[in-house]
């Protein structure tokens, strides 16, 4: 049964002659969508025209969204944020880089970005490292970018993101940031790297060409992560960190040289971690650290800890057996090999 195209014309013709509703002329100004959070602005050439270095340029605070995939241009960023207080909803769409392109999203101001993919950009997927303030990056997939997958400045929240195959690190944040529920794999450098005062919790970091998780300047909380098969160390910390309840396995993969957990500074608490099949299990090269309740198995060396640290007594159960608390036996602070 053929479509009656004339029906559409008749419908259109009829409705245009009736004045039963309000004025048809839209209000002045760029087209805005009234979303759940108020009016939003579509990212396009009319509303957010670009310049010599960016395909789209956002110069006004507000909420913005994509209505389709965005393909980059050589020599340009995809979206440049040049205003404070910008939220970008990628709306499930992708920012697709091309050879010679710059960053997918480039911002020197606090920005929120969520719900989409940023891939194949010549530099970073998202670069907001020079920004500070209330930044959030949620549900972003950043893959196969030439630089870092997601770079965020101080005070950022990076949550539920996937970073894979990036030419440098997967996720890099400035001070006092939170990285939670993310997956970082197959990146050419560190999977997750955070500066001091940050929380790294509930992430998976594996098969990266350097370390899985790095707290480069210390003062971090690193908890409940799974760090696996990285060429370098699973977790590497400087000073003043809490490293607890992590699972670190097969790090120092193949030709690499890595510990499950490497401690290079002081005043760290290394507690209740499980380290298996690494070149070294827990490797502590500095003094004045607190190392308790960890378990280690199958490492080249299970515990490689210099003197001058407070270390729960180590018990070797590699031959199996019951762990029983008695005088001179395992206690609540003990470390175990099995």
């Amino acid at each position: 049964m053929p479509i009656r195209a004339a029906s559409c014309c008749l419908l259109a013709a009829f409705f245009s002659t009736q004045s039963l509703a309000g004025p048809l002329a839209p209000p002045a100004g760029p087209v805005t969508e009234t979303g759940r959070f108020g009016p939003r602005t579509e990212i396009n050439a009319q509303n957010t025209p670009g310049n010599a270095s960016s395909t789209f340029l956002i110069t006004q605070p507000g909420s913005y969204y994509l209505t389709g995939n965005l393909t980059g241009e050589a020599g340009k960023n995809g979206i440049r944020v040049a205003a404070v207080g910008v939220t970008i909803d990628l709306n499930g769409f992708a920012l697709l880089g091309v050879p010679g392109s710059l960053n997918g999203i480039d911002s020197s101001n606090e920005v929120r970005v969520f719900n989409g993919t940023v891939r194949n950009w010549g530099e970073d997927g998202i670069d907001a490292f020079s920004a500070s303030g209330a930044m959030e990056f949620r549900q972003i997939t950043a893959t196969f970018n030439g630089g870092t997958g997601i770079q965020a400045g101080s005070g950022a929240i990076v949550e539920s993101c996937t970073v894979r195959g990036n030419g440098q690190s997967g996720i890099v944040t400035g001070n006092s940031s939170v990285i939670r529920g993310c997956t970082a794999r197959d990146n050419a450098s560190v999977g997750i790297l955070a500066n001091f005062g940050s929380v790294i919790a509930g992430n998976s970091s594996y098969s990266n060409d350097s370390h899985g998780i790095e707290a480069v300047t210390g003062d971090c909380v690193i908890v409940n992560n799974n760090v696996h098969a990285n060429v370098g160390n699973g977790i590497i910390v400087d000073s003043d960190c809490l490293v607890r309840d992590n699972n670190c396995s097969v790090n120092g993969f193949t030709s690499g040289n890595g510990a499950g957990i490497l401690v290079t500074g002081s005043d760290n608490r290394i507690e209740s971690n499980n380290v298996t099949d690494n070149d070294r299990g827990i490797d502590v090269n500095a003094t004045v650290n607190f190392i308790v309740r960890n378990s280690a198995s199958g490492n080249g060396v299970n515990f490689d800890i210099v003197n001058g640290n407070a270390v729960g007594q180590r018990f070797d159960f590699s031959g199996g057996g019951d762990i029983v608390h008695f005088n001179n036996g395992p206690g609540e602070w003990s470390n175990f090999e099995y």
Binding site: R4, S7, V250
Partner: protein
């Protein structure tokens, strides 16, 4: 002499011939007509004030069974229906005339409750404030044919074009801009060869057990064709409706239909349904979606705003998914996807849940080519040029006899307890640190009898206790990247011609 005698001779001869006609005298008795009476020529009853006077809410009212016909166009009146049928067994021929309602009118033709076996044919309706034809109160066996409706109750969310209860037959009707719903029928009805444009609540709405054939719906403000359970829809098109194109309940069949540019799904069927030989193009949401235990056969889904195909569980076979804005095709736990193609989709090409099977499929230019959650069987598939992994399966899965080449991620990645056997992986992950032709991402897997070449790593095992035997790796950046704790057989490097090996499990590197 002969000349003057000839006429008399001829006359005499003629008079001598026998008589050939009847008597000229008329028969006895009064003069009677010999033609058929008007009642025999037109045994039907004309609809007019004399034969079918109206009442308080109708212009004309039919109260006796029989066959009726309209003799002129009908103009509606305020507070009245045009023609009210208040008897069983009525056939109403509208004679091609137009019933025009006007402001304040009720229905065009209204069939009173409990009146059945009604036929309404061959007329036009316009500008009624109620339904054009309303037979929605226990009116069974209603037949409506060759009716045209235009611009009637068009801003109403309650009144529509044709509204009938169960067991109706609607055939050859055209409904344009008729308010709430163009054609609405109850259960066990048949709608054939109808066109519907517009409809604030939908184009065609049908109950359970209906058959809808060769219909078209366009530009409804909701779903184009919507049915309840056990519907059969064939040969229909749904275009540019603001809801889904075609939507059915459970146990339904949709065949040979096309759904394009609808704002929601193209075709959405309930559990236990089948969709066959259909196409879904350019719809705002997914192309074709089904409930549990459904099948989608020989269909195509292209450039839809979300997935091409979504099957909660069941079978997708012989289908193609191109350029959809999310996945090509996705099936839930326990599903089978066979002989399908997925190309150029924005997310994964083919995705199946746990305990699923993917067989004989091709996946090109997607995000991941083929993805399986766990306990998935992937056989005889070809995956190439995907932007992430070619095949990525979780735990307890098997990848057998597949070809993976030129994928940006791993050619094949398997999880814990999974196997990769008899596969060929070439030119994968060439720019991906840690990438491989075949990657064992978990533990206790089996990698056997595969051939890898020109990958980042040929075979990479990052877990432990993976058994790696009888593989061949050539010209990879690293032929084997096997972590400690795995159980890889002897790797024979660069075997020369005529080499002898006593290890049937050996791997080869050259």
């Amino acid at each position: 002499m002969l000349r003057t005698l000839a006429p008399f001779a001829i006359a005499g001869a003629l008079l001598a011939l026998p008589a050939s006609a009847g008597p000229l005298d008329p028969p006895a008795g009064p003069i009677a007509p010999t033609l058929k009476s008007l009642a025999l020529v037109e045994p039907r009853t004309a609809v007019n004030q004399a034969n079918t006077p109206g009442d308080a809410d109708s212009v004309f009212r039919i109260t006796e069974p029989g066959s009726y016909y309209l003799v002129a166009s009908l103009a509606g009146e305020v507070g009245k229906s045009g023609i009210e049928i208040a008897a069983d067994g009525v056939a109403l021929d509208l004679g091609g005339f137009t019933l025009s309602g006007g402001a304040g009118s009720l229905h065009g033709v209204s069939v009173k409750p409990d009146c059945s076996n009604v036929a309404i044919t061959d007329g036009r309706f316009t500008a009624w404030d109620g339904d054009c034809i309303n037979a929605a109160s226990n009116n069974y066996n209603v037949r409506i044919e060759r009716i045209q409706i235009r611009f009637s109750s068009q801003f109403s969310f309650s009144a529509g074009g044709i509204r009938v209860t169960d067991g109706a037959l609607i055939r050859g009707c055209q409904v344009i801009a008729a308010g709430a719903v163009g054609i609405s029928v109850g259960d066990y009805s048949i709608i054939e060869s109808c066109d519907v444009a517009g409809g604030l609540n939908g184009g065609i709405i049908a109950g359970s057990g209906c058959v809808i054939t060769d219909c078209a719906t366009i530009a409804a403000s909701d779903t184009g064709i919507r049915t309840f359970n056990s519907a059969t829809i064939s040969g229909c098109t749904a275009l540019s409706n603001l809801g889904s194109g075609i939507q059915t309940g459970s146990g339904s069949s949709v065949t040979n239909c096309a759904a394009s540019e609808n704002s929601d799904a193209g075709i959405a069927v309930g559990a236990g349904s089948s969709v066959e030989n259909c196409s879904a193009w350019g719809n705002g949401d997914s192309g074709i979606t089904t409930g549990f235990e459904s099948s989608v056969l020989n269909c195509s889904a292209m450039q839809n705003g979300f997935d091409g195909f979504v099957v909660t569980s069941g079978v997708i076979a012989g289908c193609s998914a191109w350029l959809n804005m999310h996945r090509g095709m996705s099936a839930g736990d326990g599903s089978l996807i066979a002989r399908c193609t997925a190309q150029g989709n924005t997310a994964d090409g083919i995705s199946v849940g746990s305990n699923g099977t993917i067989r004989g499929c091709t996946s090109l230019g997607n995000d991941n080519g083929i993805v399986g959650v766990s306990a998935v069987l992937v056989n005889d598939c070809s995956v190439a040029e995907n932007r992430s992994d070619g095949i990525n399966v979780g735990t307890s899965s098997s990848v057998l006899a597949c070809l993976a080449h030129d994928n940006a991620g791993d050619g094949i990645e398997i999880g814990t307890g999974s196997s990769a056997r008899g596969n060929t992986c070439e030119s994968n992950a060439t720019d991906l640190v840690g990438g491989a032709g075949i990657r064992a991402a978990g533990d206790n897997g089996l990698i056997e009898d595969n051939y890898t070449s020109n990958n980042r790593s040929g075979i990479r095992a990052v877990g432990i206790n993976n058994l790696i035997v009888r593989n061949r790796a050539s010209a990879n950046l690293a032929n084997y990247s096997i972590g400690a704790g795995n159980r890889d057989a002897q790797i024979i490097v660069d075997p020369a011609s005529g080499f002898v090996s006593t290890d049937p499990m050996a791997n080869y590197s050259y």
